[in-house]
Amino acid sequence: MDKFFEQLPGFVDEIKTLKEIIITNIVLIGQTPAPTFREKKRSKVFMERLAEFQVDEVTTDGYRNPIGIIRGTDAGKPPIFILAHLDTFYERDLAINYVIKKNTITGAGILDNSLGVGVLTSLPAIFKKLDLRFESDIVLAGTIQSIGKGNLRGVRHLLKTWPTPIRGGICIEGIELGRLNYYSDGMIRGEIGCSISDERGKLEEYTPNAIIILNEVINQIMSLRMPQRPRSRIVIGKISGGANHGKIAHEGGIGFEIHSDSYKMVKKTFGDIRDIIEGLGHEYEVDLNLRTISNLRASRLKYTHPLVKNAAAILKTLGIKPFSKSTESALSIFLSNKIPAVTLGITHGVGHYKEKATMEIEPMYQGIAQIIGVIKAIDSGVCDEQQLA
């Protein structure tokens, strides 16, 4: 193993010789729109690319997650999963045309997660170039319905229905190079909607305003006391409402997430928000409703887990400084299924959620080398003995 780690810095230059193939995959996949629930076109491109690189098996699972399988040398070893979510946060069919400059690629959704998917589809060519074979089957999965209301349905289904044990997993995200996620907070993602009937606007002189009522909802949520232990917080990340500057708003909504080390705390806070909603709905006599979009239980690997320790060592070998924080993504589904897994970022970038999101090309090769290092670590057995915490 140590000998393999020593080779990793040398891999960076070899991976770089495939830059045209890697960038082509990123661009061809990234320019194919894939809003959540409408990933079919991108899924097709994903499968075509894998088939062209002569992956042993290219198919979809029962939920239409596209997957490619590279057969390993030991049929007795469980597979290693490497996955990147296919869907992008753009809800509309935006005409996406990436711009490549000398050291950057710019375009909508490139960081989340066209880069990740593009690198995933390049792995077969990279393995071939580096002459790498693994004992385990390598399952390359582009999971659908991950973001927002998708609620990670694709990966949930994939892992739940996979017929064999899974040896370990790696989730690939575009940024940030150095991230080494190995734990997930408990989380509930919800939406609060406020609706006022048109009739009230006609009959009453002082019609309630949906925006003002939602403002009161926010004030009351902000006054909830969030403990330091278990570490907990509420993020209000989306807001919408109203139709015109001079008209009373009849519709409005906010989107929020509750995060905590403890899922019990998440549920308690969600109950507090429900009380606020019911109270204000009654007080203002309006239709205030609360919906759960997504939820995740808290789950984690210990820092001392061999996968985490080895992954950190691999990053350091490549001159990458690892950093960790909670991630509420596919990782949590692996961990809640008792499958050791980590999330890795590939490069640096700016403007994550903007149409002109930009990734740096050069650090990407290091990012790919670390993924190969971690695959090799899992294939060498770092996940085989220790159970999850």
Partner: protein
């Protein structure tokens, strides 16, 4: 009129998606293939074109032997980026420097014949935003798979559905529909079967390109269609549906200048063929008007319409490609 041409010589790029087969044909026929990208300030799109075509048609499938950028003096980072991604980059003015230099797409295409090695040359515009390797292999397909085809033009957006009695209302762009198609309908009805005669993407054998003149400006596509048709007939031409192309949209005034250039090329060709006779010389200024401070001011563009002769007539070219005068004589007789 040869009405069968449209059905017989119109293809879809997916007819040629078996790239392994194209590589086999290329090897069997012992051909070299060059890709030429003429540029002028294309820093936003050039890298993507080079990377995708190099990845798919050089690294993965050995279809292209070289990618050449011929630049008209870009002031942005086009040439720097193109070099960084491994293309052979030339300044058009430095190719055959003893000739008086002109600026224009046609000039770049013509000079590319001197610096490329290929038996087949593919020309792609460098401003294609949705570049995909189908743009190149789609054009190569008929040239490699059909021994009669010598020149292939692209068209886009599936504007017609052949064989199903279904006509769709669109064909080419505005200049095609308002200028070229009426002219072809009046003088060369057979050529109306070219769905997009002005498309900037085409490929052909060197033996064709080296024997036709190249107008230096926008007229190059028009003259190419007419000259190849006149010399070899319609059956050596094919057209391929490349699906969708996204590129810069030009304003009406720019299209007006393009139309001027094309009309001039067309009329000059007709005169040369002895089909029309003009009493006076054509003017070479396109005059457009702008409203400035409530006054109409003319905007005058000089479009001289220079034209390069068939490159086979240039001694340096003949020397480089070891072509002797006898050979030309034979070709002309043939």
């Amino acid at each position: 009129m040869n009405n069968n041409w449209l059905e017989k010589n119109t293809f879809h790029y997916s007819d040629f998606k078996d790239l392994g087969r194209l590589v086999e044909e290329k090897a069997k026929k012992d051909l070299k293939i060059s890709l030429c990208l003429p540029t002028l300030n294309e820093e936003k799109t050039i890298a993507k074109e080079i990377i995708i075509l190099k990845s798919e048609l050089m690294t993965r499938y050995a279809l292209l032997d070289e990618i050449v950028v011929v630049d008209s003096g870009s002031t942005d980072k086009t040439t720097e980026i193109a070099r960084a991604y491994g293309a052979d980059v030339y300044d058009a003015a430095e190719i055959l420097p003893q000739l008086e230099p002109y600026k224009g797409k046609g000039e770049n295409l013509w000079k590319a014949l001197y610096i490329t090695q290929g038996d087949i040359i593919i020309y792609l515009d460098a401003d294609i935003k949705n570049i995909h390797h189908r743009f190149a292999y789609g054009l190569l397909g008929p040239l490699l798979m059909d021994d009669h085809i010598k020149f292939v033009k692209a068209f886009y957006d599936r504007p017609i559905s052949i064989g199903k009695n279904k006509m769709r209302p669109t064909g080419g762009g505005r200049v095609t529909e308002l200028v070229i198609r009426p002219l072809f309908s009046l003088f060369f009805p057979e050529l109306t079967q070219l769905i997009q005669p002005l498309s900037g993407e085409y490929a052909g054998f060197r033996e064709v390109f080296e024997r036709i003149p190249f107008p230096i400006g926008y007229g190059v596509e028009t003259s190419m269609n007419m000259d190849i048709y006149e010399k070899w007939g319609l059956d050596v031409i094919a057209q391929v549906d490349l699906d969708r192309r996204i590129h810069r949209n030009q304003d009406t005034k720019a299209l007006g200048r393009m139309a001027f250039s094309i009309l001039k090329t067309f009329i000059n060709r007709k005169i040369r063929l002895g089909l029309i006779d003009l009493r006076d010389e054509l003017f070479d200024e396109m005059i457009q008007y702008n409203l400035v401070n409530n006054k109409y001011q003319p905007d005058i563009f000089k479009i001289e319409g220079h034209e390069r002769p068939p490159i086979i007539e240039i001694p340096e070219y003949r020397e480089k490609f070891k072509i002797d005068r006898e050979h030309i004589q034979k070709l002309q007789e043939a």
